[in-house]
């Protein structure tokens, strides 16, 4: 699949037959749904903690991006490397960060992945092959390219998967990173999560092309445009891209369309988002969509779905308890870790 042949967003091909045949079984669907639901509940809890004054720092959420997070990261093998952005906490869960880990991270605890050095989504963990997110948008695309360069040179078969918002795609590092990966045909997949806004800025102030994926040709890489609210579509596009990358076909630029269902962060009520966009977004809520699919296809019964919901609630409750009981770091720990030994 390249940009020339990428189906348009409304192409019914994406919706049906094509996606029934992904080779995914009941367990896979359970994991995908569980991950999406966990992202939703976890982040709702984070927002609640924020309102209650129990959070440390700011609260971001990926509501509306759950299918991208789960569907993409599920296409990775263990040896692959995740280079995540701010709306894909589900990908962290799939790679091995637990809800406890992430809640400790959000609450700045000594036993979180960064031991309180950094907060919220800003954590990496080399044990799980997760590169720590940096705030500076786009700056990890060159890093993902470098990760892929190492894999290519060593022939270890690993692929790096990274993300950027459509807003972040305006920055120089997007261009430099993707171009470098293209030139060296590096095993990298770049997903642009196009949720129609960069903070408050609508796409007409961000880019003037029709689709971000139209840029693929200008880099000489494969491109795909997918419905980012459909976890199967995201999974399929990522899997194809990962395969292509593993075979030496170089990077793929995937544009995944979705809607940011909340404000930019907790403090933002998204007043600037036209009501119809928000409504359409909620009508296409990826979590509900996945749930409906699972029910329709009779992969799971209503009771089983409710069971997953309960399980997830329990995980999040436990994570909050655990994190709140976990120690804050010792002040002097601030001095440690600037340099590796």
């Amino acid at each position: 699949m390249n940009v020339e042949t990428a189906p348009a967003l409304s192409d019914p091909a994406l919706a049906a037959s094509d996606l029934d045949d992904l080779g995914l079984g009941r367990d896979d669907y359970r994991t995908l749904y569980h991950t999406m639901r966990l992202q939703r509940e976890f982040e709702e809890r984070v927002y609640r903690l924020f309102r209650q004054g129990r959070l440390v720092g700011a609260a971001y959420a990926g509501a509306g991006h759950e299918a991208i997070a789960a569907g993409s990261a599920y296409a990775l093998g263990d040896a692959d490397i995740l280079v995540p952005m701010h709306r894909v906490i589900g990908a962290h869960f799939l790679r091995g960060h637990t809800a406890r880990d992430m809640m400790c991270q959000y609450l700045g605890r000594a036993n979180g992945p960064t031991a309180g050095k950094d907060g919220n989504m800003h954590c990496g963990n080399w044990d799980h092959h997760i590169v720590g997110m940096i705030s500076h948008l786009g700056a990890n695309i060159p890093v993902a390219a470098g990760v892929a360069l190492a894999s290519k040179v060593r022939g270890d078969g690993a692929v790096s998967l990274t993300y950027i918002g459509e807003g972040g795609s305006s920055i120089g590092d997007f261009h430099e990173g993707l171009n470098f990966a293209a030139v060296h045909r590096l095993p990298m997949v770049l997903i642009v999560e196009n949720n129609k806004f960069a903070y408050s800025t609508p796409t007409r102030f961000e880019y003037a092309c029709e689709n971000i994926v139209d840029r693929a040709r200008g880099y000489g890489v494969a491109g795909a445009l997918v419905d980012g609210t459909d976890v199967r579509a995201v999974y399929k596009a990522t899997r194809d891209a990962v395969e292509l990358a593993r075979e030496g076909g170089g990077p793929t630029l995937i544009e995944a369309r979705c809607t940011r269902l909340l404000g930019h962060a907790q403090h933002d009520d998204a007043f600037y988002v036209p009501r119809d966009i928000m409504e359409e977004g909620w009508n296409n809520d990826p979590v509900t969509k996945a749930e409906n699919l699972l029910l329709e296809r009779k992969y799971f019964t209503r009771e089983e779905i409710d069971g997953i919901q309960e399980e997830v609630n329990g995980i999040v409750d436990d994570a909050v308890d655990y994190a709140e009981q976990s120690p804050l770091p010792e002040p002097e720990a601030a001095l440690q870790g600037v340099y590796a030994d």
Partner: protein
């Protein structure tokens, strides 16, 4: 006029300049309908329209570069970095292109880059930095960092009217700081770039500082005043150029110097001040020049770490005691 906040002073300073001079316009991320991440430009879009309040893509290099282009054409752009931390993405434009233009080929580049800087509590390594020192070593740039509401407005106006590129550091911790709400003149006024202000007079020691640390320094001075020590607190306000005369005069009077900033110690701007005093007021010094600053690490996120990292009133007081004890 009722008392206003530091944030309101910046906002009204910017608005008045835009009203006064058609060539002034704003450029930055989310400054339009959203009014900016910190709401400095709230309402500006309605008042001035899309041509003068330009929502930019997330791309700091072109924000600064385009500001330079417009400035060459005689306009006076005021670019906003959403957080000062992101200015590193436009670093080359500033230090190599903007800063060197007038020297190289004589064209003036009158632009302002507004940089919301500083720690405000658990915002982590990328939303808390004080990046001013990088620019204080770049000939061709000017750098200001107002601490008071009056200065925030007056220095912004001077920066916009200056024919050179000015980096305007506004400490986020001052935006709504109740203590600095103040009544400011209705009529137009400016604060000259390059002049420090004595915030408290004293004869026993001098603190040279700027930005939010002015208040920790004043509080420390107040504490020691209770013990009979009179500390002079000098608010630099401008860092490039900085008011060397005011610093030297004060040190010549008090014979002791403590430099305080929120930026990290090594390579921070305090080194420059300390070095200049050690060179030019050497014989007036009765004690070693001291510096107090953040520790040499990234800004950590978790509360105990961040508190350990940052200078505060207690640490300034302790450093001052130390200095006086010499």
């Amino acid at each position: 006029m009722p008392p206003v906040t530091y944030l309101e002073a910046i906002s009204s300073g910017l608005r008045e300049e835009m009203e006064r001079d058609e060539s002034v316009f704003c450029l930055g991320e989310d400054i339009g309908v959203y009014g900016g991440a910190f709401k400095i430009t709230k309402g500006f879009l309605d008042e001035f329209g899309e041509d003068r309040v330009i929502d930019a893509p997330v791309a700091e290099s072109v924000i600064i570069g385009a500001a330079m282009g417009a400035a060459l054409m005689g306009m006076r752009p005021v670019a906003e970095m959403q957080f000062a931390d992101f200015i590193t993405c436009g670093f080359n434009q500033l230090v190599n292109n903007v800063a060197k233009t007038h020297y190289r080929w004589g064209a003036a580049v009158p632009l302002v880059v507004r940089c919301p800087s500083g720690a405000i509590g658990n915002a982590g390594p990328f939303h808390s930095q004080n990046p001013e020192a990088w620019f204080c070593k770049v000939p061709g740039l000017k750098v200001v960092a107002p601490a008071t509401t009056y200065d925030a407005k007056g220095l912004l106006k001077s920066s916009i009217r200056d024919n050179n590129p000015v980096l305007y550091f506004e400490h986020k911790g001052l935006y709504r700081f109740p203590r600095i709400r103040e009544e400011i003149p209705e009529e137009d006024y400016t604060v000259p770039i390059g002049e420090a202000a004595v915030r408290r007079e004293g004869v026993d020691a001098t603190i040279v500082t700027y930005g939010k640390m002015v208040f920790h320094s004043l509080d420390a001075a107040e504490t020691l005043a209770g013990e009979g020590v009179e500390t002079e607190v000098l608010d630099l306000r401008s860092l490039l150029p900085y008011d060397k005369q005011a610093i030297l005069e004060s040190v010549r009077k008090t014979n002791r110097l403590l430099v305080v900033h929120e930026d990290t110690l090594t390579g921070g701007f305090g080194g420059e001040i300390a070095a200049v005093v050690a060179e030019e007021a050497f014989e007036h010094l009765d004690a070693p020049v001291r510096r107090l600053a953040a520790i040499d690490t990234p800004v950590p996120f978790s509360p105990p770490l961040e508190q350990f990292f940052l200078p505060n009133t207690e640490k300034v007081t302790a450093a001052l005691r130390d200095l006086l004890a010499y």
